[in-house]
Amino acid sequence: MLRLTLERRPGRDDLVAFGLAARSPAAWVLPALGLLPAAGAALRPSALARPWRMWNRAARGYGRVARAAVLGVAFGVFTVVGRAGARFALHPSPSGPGWTPKARDAAGRDAAPGATGASWARRLLSWSRDGENGWAAFLVPFLLLLHALEADASARAAEEIYTLY
């Protein structure tokens, strides 16, 4: 699938590529129609600039809706499954403050040993299986979907809060 960069001004190559890609849906309707965008792209790329921008806006909106839907479902599933399986390490000790022993950890390898070269999803699955976090595996399909929706790794949290993640 052609991935369009939404932010920058389209160059000639972008518009030609868009024209060639746009012929695919059109070709389903009427094969002859499919030739038009391709011809336009070849002869006059600038004519496609506006449809290109409109397509990008629509794609961006679709991405937002899809991400929100995926996240909503993920949160629901995660909450149900997690409550069944998590350790709830967060809750404070009822006896109040106090230093606890820290597990020693020399400079370690990637948290999923032996998984060098494996995809991140496989590493996450290995980690969830080997630790006590099997329930986290249920998030993997949602994470894969978010990854496919080009979730932004540099997205920032609200500025009113310390970045905990």
């Binding site: 996240l71 409550r83 990637d110 949602f142 009113e160």
Partner: protein, 617 residues
């Protein structure tokens, strides 16, 4: 064959890179200095590129790269937090998860992709607080020392105690999220209207204007503190686990109202809150320090973690605590984790020995890029600047000292850039600390920042005990400790001045001269000191010596070379733009001297446009 190890910190705040060659710190820098985005959390590509260039190597020459924390363990903490508070927390979950799906879960792949296919070394992930501990202990001048790390949170740990001996260290005890001194302090930072992760420093500077009238309320309701310095937060007062703000409605009710709106007027309430949380923080740090001393039996202490940037608490720990000496990593926050990760790999994973340097191995924290006179001259010619190139150092220093004596403010750009949040005489704005007007001028016309904030002194190390209440020739080169001005250097206040000290306008309070060095003396007569010596500071020390010979003052004002919201300048171009966009009178770029009145009018940028480039911090 030389073994090169690259350390990396990234993706949360203050990304950085550091490079060791056979265990020696060759280069270290924060990414923000190159991208000009303050606290830039992005992958530190440019910082890495600089480090490799400084060492004259490529990624293919690296034996290993080390990332400063373990992302999957952090992910676990994130998920456990959401579960503990579910079904609340969806907004926070929605903010966080895309970032992880978009790249944080694939850090090994991302790092290898950024370093390129020529990188064939090992990729390791260290523990966050062990990275801090390593950044503190290994460069310190101590053969053995207790170790205390304090921050908001790493993976799960928020504070840790341990010990270092020779080339090994171990953290034995920890406090775990959500119980965090760093988060407690950040919560008050946010509530008083400052930005988290950059405003903590301002809260510390505001504290001397207030009274700790909320101290008891904090200790009764908000946090339980044990005699050993451990703490447990009452989470009903906080919102950072499940929400998008630091404090909850219950916190607001406890302290009599909603948080102060950023940039609105600071009232006595905020000053008193600042004083109160500072008092609580000092008590916790002191108690934790005592506990570390009892647990280890060691005479010296090495510290790191973001809370270790609280130099008032550090000064209290040194004065009232059980340690003979305390050494704090200058890049004590997450940027320093890059250095710590590399050091952990060298000493622990590779088992290499440590050579303890008697005056520390941090090299004055001058670990960033330098620029030579030829390149600077070419640059200045290219922009049409008017300058003098003064090849003889004595003449240059005479000219600069004379300008300072006249009350001029000078941008000083010399040598390698500092690593860490403080300017230490390589990228500094300097002036005469005896001037009663300088503090106001620098705050409002040069830094464009809050008028209540004091400036810090640089003092010739051989004279530090003559001006401040320190031991003779105290070695504090990193501006991480606060000490009072000596009594014989203070001024008695007139009745009128005492009234001005009660004025609700803090700029009036801070303008009352309280010592012979009004520009650097805070309202409580304290100062955040940097000692300057010839071995570490070279030309900067010689400048101060020249100024001392002319004026009798061993003290000058030193503030970072930037305006509010801007990272400290890195290149001559950054420095020239800042110089032209502010009311600085002169600029020194190595051997080049520029005077503002001689610069072409056409080169002066619109002041507001210059300021608008940088988001307020």
């Amino acid at each position: 064959m030389t073994t090169h190890i690259l350390g990396i910190s990234a993706f949360f705040h203050d990304s950085a890179a550091a490079l060791l060659s056979d265990g020696e710190i060759v280069a270290a820098a924060q990414e923000e200095r190159f991208t000009r985005k303050k606290h830039d959390p992005g992958f530190p590509s440019r910082a890495i590129e600089y480090c490799l260039r400084e060492a004259g190597i490529g990624a293919g020459d690296l034996a290993a790269a080390a990332f400063y924390e373990q992302p999957l363990v952090k992910f676990e903490r994130l998920l456990e937090t959401y579960l503990a508070y579910s079904p609340e927390g969806f907004a926070s979950f929605r903010d966080a998860l895309p970032g992880w799906a978009g790249g944080k879960l694939d850090l090994p792949g991302r790092i290898r992709e950024e370093l390129g296919p020529e990188f064939r070394g090992e990729l390791l992930f260290t523990d966050h607080h062990e990275s801090h501990a390593a950044s503190a202990f290994f460069p310190s001048p101590f053969e053995e020392a207790a170790i205390l790390t304090l921050d908001a949170v790493g993976e799960w740990t928020t504070s840790a105690i341990g010990a270092g001996h020779g080339s090994r260290l171990a953290l034995e005890r920890e406090l775990r999220f959500p119980h965090s001194l760093g988060m407690l302090y950040s919560a008050f930072t946010w509530y008083t209207g400052f930005k988290v992760n950059s405003g903590e420093y301002k809260l510390m500077g505001l504290a001397p204007y207030g009274r700790p009238i909320y101290r008891d309320r904090i200790l009764e309701h908000v946090v339980d503190v044990a005699p050993d310095g451990s703490l447990a937060l009452r989470m009903e007062y906080f919102n950072y686990c499940q929400g998008r703000t630091m404090t909850s409605e219950r916190f607001h009710e406890l302290f009599g109202g909603p948080p102060r709106r950023p940039e609105s007027r600071i009232t006595q309430k905020e000053m008193d809150l600042a004083a109160s949380i500072q008092a609580v923080t000092e008590e916790i740090v002191l108690a934790a320090g005592r506990h570390a001393h009892e647990a280890t039996g060691l005479a010296d202490l090495a510290m790191a973690g973001g809370v270790a940037l609280n130099c008032v608490a550090n000064g209290r720990l040194l004065r009232d605590g059980p340690f003979e000496r305390v050494w704090v990593q200058p890049a004590a926050g997450d940027a320093g984790g890059a250095l710590g990760a590399a050091l952990l790999v060298w000493h622990h994973a590779l088992g290499r020995p440590r050579r303890v340097q008697p005056r520390d191995a941090q090299k004055g924290s001058r670990l960033g890029p330098a620029f030579d006179d030829t390149d600077i001259g070419c640059y200045l010619d290219s922009v049409g600047a008017t300058y003098e190139r003064i090849s003889g150092e004595p003449e240059l220093l005479d000219r600069v000292a004379s300008l300072m004596e006249e009350g001029k403010v000078v941008g000083w750009f010399e040598g390698r850039m500092e690593y860490g949040p403080r300017a230490l005489g390589a990228r500094s704005i300097i002036g005469d600390a005896r001037s009663p007007e300088l503090q106001r001028t620098m705050n409002l016309k040069i830094k464009f920042r809050e008028g209540f904030r004091p400036f810090a002194p640089c003092v010739l190390r051989e004279h530090v005990h003559e001006v401040f209440e320190t031991r003779p020739e105290e070695d504090w080169p990193y501006m991480l400790f606060v000490a009072p001005v000596r009594e014989d250097r203070r001024r008695a206040l007139t009745d009128e001045e005492r009234r001005r000290m009660e004025d609700p306008d803090l700029t009036i309070r801070v303008s009352v001269p309280r010592s012979e060095f009004p520009a650097i003396t805070h309202v409580d007569l304290s100062a955040r000191i940097q000692t300057v010596d010839e071995e570490r500071h070279g030309r900067y020390w010689r400048l101060m010596k020249r100024f001392h010979e002319r004026t009798g003052s061993p003290v000058i004002v030193n503030t970072s070379f930037n305006i509010r919201g801007e990272p400290i300048v890195c290149t001559p171009d950054d420095a020239y733009r800042c110089f032209m966009g502010t009311d600085m009178d002169a600029l020194v770029l190595e051997s080049h001297l520029l005077l503002k009145e001689r610069q072409p009018e056409a080169l002066r940028p619109d002041r507001e446009a210059y300021k608008a480039q940088f988001a307020l911090d």
